[in-house]
């Protein structure tokens, strides 16, 4: 069995509201193996970004981790001192964020921003770091890499900026790269370029990748395994082929059915999921998806389902649903 790189257990995150703390992420379990690409899929507000940001304490104000552990290479990330945390950030875990326009400092040159992690983690001299920065830009496919070091972010196109962000995330050859919707702000042809770039880099550098997205189609060709999040919980976790071939949670199933397909039949209607996800602080008792679930039973409204292996103990396909077996039969 492959080696665990990151193991998150029972992670909960809450936000301070007027009416007191409200849970946004509710006891998430997930793991990333060495060299694996994990796709985290969910709709806005499901807590997918917060979960990953919380690991290195980058949560916005008023949002905090209320429970859980996150073992990373044998240490609990959530218990690190701020000094140890700094070593992990950028050193062991690299980040790529959604909007490269706002995620790069507009008043600093690309080169300055790129050498920072090298200066602080690798203790390189400025000249060495600059040389390495040039190599990194070439690695992410920026033409005229060395000259580009003296550019400001606004002088680059959106795709180029995102390549720079990736170079920053990769600067110290991290063991884990967390990409938070890195292509959402980009056009589809540029998205294809970035996806290919990350796939290629992963193969060459052998790191693990967590790719956060709301786009199931995008992640299909990219991930080894997918975690589907709904309202702050993992509802399904499966190797990518299995998830698409045999979705066991009604939410995953509904999500897949609601995407129009490029190769499918000309269906008259899309299968949509009625209703809207619960707001934080208004989570229903029992399964959070129960109010929108076409197959909900009495037990779904009262008891929270646990994330369990589908059909026995050995399968890596896990689902949190009381009626998963019936869902599979109905298919």
């Amino acid at each position: 069995m492959s080696e665990r790189l990151l193991e998150v257990k029972d992670l909960s995150i809450e936000i301070a509201t007027r009416r007191g703390p409200a849970t946004i992420v509710d006891g998430i379990d997930l793991h990333v193996d060495k060299g694996e690409t994990l796709g985290i899929v969910g709709e806005s507000g499901c807590g997918k970004s917060l979960t990953m940001l919380s690991l290195v304490r980058l949560l916005p104000n008023k949002i905090r981790v209320s429970n859980g552990t996150a073992a990373f290479a044998g240490r609990d990330l959530l218990q690190l001192s701020s000094r140890e945390l700094r070593e992990v950030r950028g050193g062991k875990i690299g980040f790529v964020f959604q909007d490269p326009m706002t995620s790069l400092n507009p008043v600093m040159k690309i080169g300055e921003q790129l050498i920072e992690p090298l200066l602080y983690h690798r203790e390189m001299s400025k000249a060495e770091a600059r040389k390495r920065a040039g190599e990194l830009l070439r690695l992410v496919g920026i033409p005229g890499a060395e000259q580009r070091l003296d550019s400001y972010p606004h002088e680059l196109s959106g795709g180029m900026r995102q390549r720079v962000m990736i170079a920053i995330g990769l600067a110290c050859e991290p063991e884990l790269l967390i990409a938070d919707e890195p292509t959402t702000a980009l056009d589809v042809t540029i998205q294809a370029q970035i996806v290919d770039l990350v796939k290629d880099l992963r193969k060459r550098l052998g790191m693990s990748v967590v790719w956060i997205t709301h786009d199931l189609a995008l992640i299909a060709g990219l991930a080894d395994r997918i975690c589907v999040l709904y309202a702050g919980t993992v509802v399904e976790d499966a190797p990518v082929e299995q998830l698409f071939a045999e979705p066991a949670h009604p939410y995953t199933r509904g999500l897949l059915a609601s995407i129009p397909r490029m190769d499918g039949e000309d269906a008259e209607r899309l299968n949509s999921i009625g209703g809207t996800p619960p707001e934080p602080g208004r989570r229903p008792a029992g399964c959070p998806f129960a109010p929108r679930c076409p197959m909900a039973q009495e037990i779904c409204r009262t008891t929270v389902p646990e994330l369990q292996p589908l059909r026995g103990e050995t399968t890596p396909h896990r689902v949190a649903c009381h009626v998963a077996n019936r869902v599979l039969e109905a298919a």
Partner: protein, 318 residues
């Protein structure tokens, strides 16, 4: 760059002229006949002789139409001649030349003090938003903001005397290296400091929510590096644009501070001239004050692209 400065100057010079025109017109139509003013002031000195008055008037060019007189004034002002005081007959320029160094040195020091004190305080308050430190800094700034300079001055003066019995009363001018400058400098800087602390704090809070700060932290940079490299620079841009406002605030404050601490600067000259309706002086000082504010605005306009590469880029690519 040069073209841009020239363009700015092209807007700036007419504005200065219009301001002078406005103030001059106020004095011209409002204050009344300057000759009569002189005679009213000292009725016994010179016999009130209409023929003589007309002669003086003609000699001084005061019978010319307004616009011509204004033109003369402007022309003379350009050569540093702002006329003579109505009270003692000395040239206004020489009086201003004597007073200006005091005000300028004090004002410059106040700006430096403001920048050195207020920007770090505002940074700290903003970085630790809603903490005790923040509340103390912000609360103090608001309190200081609420106390007018003319109240703060005397209060501090007495406080000093009570705390350090035997210390000299900080009254009068002894140059910028004289200990007497401390209190007036403090009082003069209070309001600008309060202003800049609040603005820096607000700007820091805004920048803190920017994505690029998160990126900087995700690189594992120490918090001081994040603050100094990533937050300070974007914050400085709006703060520098406030220089013009600080200038106004300092000119306003100087009037009170010089009065209270007995400094022989432009502020005291103004108040003195005002109480004795000495128009040429008030006029000249207003012109110089506006000139200063507009000059600092111009400076800010030119500085802006240097601080913000996005603007600089636009200028280079011309």
């Amino acid at each position: 760059m040069l073209l841009f400065v020239l363009k700015r100057l092209g807007i700036w010079i007419p504005t200065v002229i219009v301001v002078i025109l406005g103030v001059y017109a106020l004095a011209f139509y409002g204050a009344g006949d300057p000759i009569k003013l002189i005679f009213m002031r000292a009725p016994g000195d010179v016999a009130y002789d209409p023929v003589r008055i007309e002669a003086i008037r003609e000699q001084a060019g005061l019978n010319q139409p307004f616009i011509q007189q204004f033109g003369n004034y402007l022309w003379n002002a350009l050569h540093g001649n702002f006329g003579n005081s109505l009270v003692n007959g000395r040239s206004v320029w020489s009086m201003i030349a004597a007073a200006a160094p005091v005000s300028f040195q004090l004002g410059l020091l106040a700006i430096v003090l403001t920048a050195v004190v207020a920007i770090p305080l505002g940074m700290v308050a903003g970085m630790k938003q809603n903490s005790k430190t923040d509340y103390v800094i912000l609360g103090t700034a608001l309190l200081v903001w609420a106390i007018p300079a003319y109240v703060a001055g005397p209060l501090l003066m007495v406080l000093l005397i009570t705390i350090l019995p035997g210390s000299a009363v900080p009254y009068g001018w002894g140059g910028i290296f004289d200990a007497k400058i401390i209190l007036p400098l403090l009082v003069l800087s209070f309001q600008p400091i309060a202003l800049i602390v609040r603005q820096t704090r607000a700007a820091v809070i805004e920048v803190l929510s920017e994505d690029f700060v998160r990126t900087a932290r995700s690189k594992g940079l120490p918090e001081t590096v994040v603050a100094l490299r990533h937050i300070l620079r974007p914050v400085l841009t709006p703060i520098v644009t406030q220089l013009g406002l600080i200038m106004i605030s300092i000119i306003n404050g100087a009037i009170f501070v010089e009065l209270v601490f007995g400094l022989p600067g432009l502020g005291r000259l103004t108040v003195g001239a005002l109480t004795s309706s000495d128009y040429p002086i008030v006029l000249a000082i207003t012109v110089i004050g506006s000139f200063l504010v507009m000059a600092s605005n111009l400076l800010v306009d030119v500085l802006y692209p240097i601080l913000d590469p996005r603007a600089a880029d636009a200028m280079r690519s011309r």
